[in-house]
Amino acid sequence: MSLLDRILLFDIFTGLKITGRHWWRKKDTVPYPEARREPSDRFRGMFKLDEERCIKCTLCAIECPINIIFIDWHNEKNPEGKAEKVLDRFDLDLKRCMFCGLCEDACPTNPKSIWLKTKSYELGAYERNEALYLDIVKLTQWDVQQGITIPPAPGEPVAAKEEKKP
């Protein structure tokens, strides 16, 4: 920086110019509850379980790095006389979840039976233990309970999506 620059506070004015220029720029933030960002298609958010598709293999519970998925099942004869696994419990301790998505990776069914790509990220709750400890009903029904539509599971054919809509 030359002496003249220093005397005339060139650096100071450059800084002021930069910030001043931003006065006219579009704001980067959005006023949240009114305006929302749409999460991306792969966003890992709230869990969703499809009980019918689930084959009770417990791979998700095994793969979970922090062991927050608890699965119990027993065998039952279905009307055709074939033995079928029935879930006794499928609990998920969401308050410890770190949304790594390994359970979804591990799920062998196609489409996935448990998935996080629900584009749902508003998980705040007033009661930590009640709201964030998900049982099978909450896991499968929360979107219906909240009255929102969520995107279909990854791998689910598009037709199913359209079918769901009406």
Partner: protein
């Protein structure tokens, strides 16, 4: 992978005194040892697929080290191009001093320990050195330390060893004799036990803290093991 993308820039000088890191080191070891299994091992009938360990006592640095400090090199071995020298713990400061001053391994990359619960000297203390001057070479020094025995500190050789040794003392309980300031570093003073020992429970021990007593055991640690849970991971 790494071998593939190796730049052609620093070719290992033939018969050079230094085995440059990674692949060059492997090449340096080639004359005596069978080549380390290439990533895509053509025929891998034995179960452990992947690279195999080779003897590296012919490595020039190791040879010079053995010559300079008799009794300092118990064994030398090479795996995926990384040379490991086994040394008796009492010789470690000497070895590191030699490597630093003579062989220009001026940078102590890391210092850590491994707990081999059942083995005779229970712990391995591992030093990992780097040389900028001689073609980005790395060498590992390993010393078996018995439980309760002190390992001589190298904080006088490398300043950076100070905190690393404190960490090893804290987490493994290996005392370093001659360390200027051997206090716990990650856990607090007065913590009972050394967490990275294999016999320290993962669930933690009672530390007297009580957070969320309905979900977590008294004394801290992760949440109560689910009694109903069948699946054990």
């Amino acid at each position: 992978m790494t071998d593939e993308t190796k730049p052609p820039t620093p070719p290992p000088p033939a018969g050079d005194t230094t085995p440059p890191a990674e692949k060059p080191a492997a090449e340096a070891a080639k004359p005596t040892a069978p080549a380390p299994a290439k990533p895509a091992a053509p025929a891998a009938p034995p179960k452990p697929k992947g690279p195999t360990a080779n003897d590296a006592s012919s490595d020039p640095v190791v040879q010079r080290l053995a010559a300079a400090l008799p009794g300092a090199v118990l064994a030398a071995k090479e795996l995926v191009g990384q040379v490991t020298v086994e040394a008796p713990p009492e010789k470690v400061p000497e070895v590191l001093r030699y490597l630093k001053d003579v062989e220009a391994f001026t940078y102590l990359v890391d210092l850590t320990a491994v707990d081999w619960k059942a083995r005779a000297p229970r712990f391995d203390v591992v030093y990992w050195l780097h040389s900028f001057a001689k073609g980005e070479t790395r060498i590992r020094v390993r010393a078996g330390v018995a439980d309760g025995a002190a390992c001589p500190s190298v904080a006088g050789v490398f300043l950076t060893a100070n905190w690393m040794e404190r960490e090893v003392w804290d987490l493994f309980g290996i005392p370093f004799s001659g360390h200027p300031d051997l206090r716990r570093i990650l856990t607090w003073d007065g913590f009972a036990g050394h967490p990275l020992r294999k016999d320290f429970p993962v669930e933690g021990v009672d530390t007297g803290a009580a957070i969320y007593p309905d979900h977590y055991p008294d004394g801290g640690g992760p949440s109560v093991k689910d009694p109903l849970k069948k699946v054990v991971s």
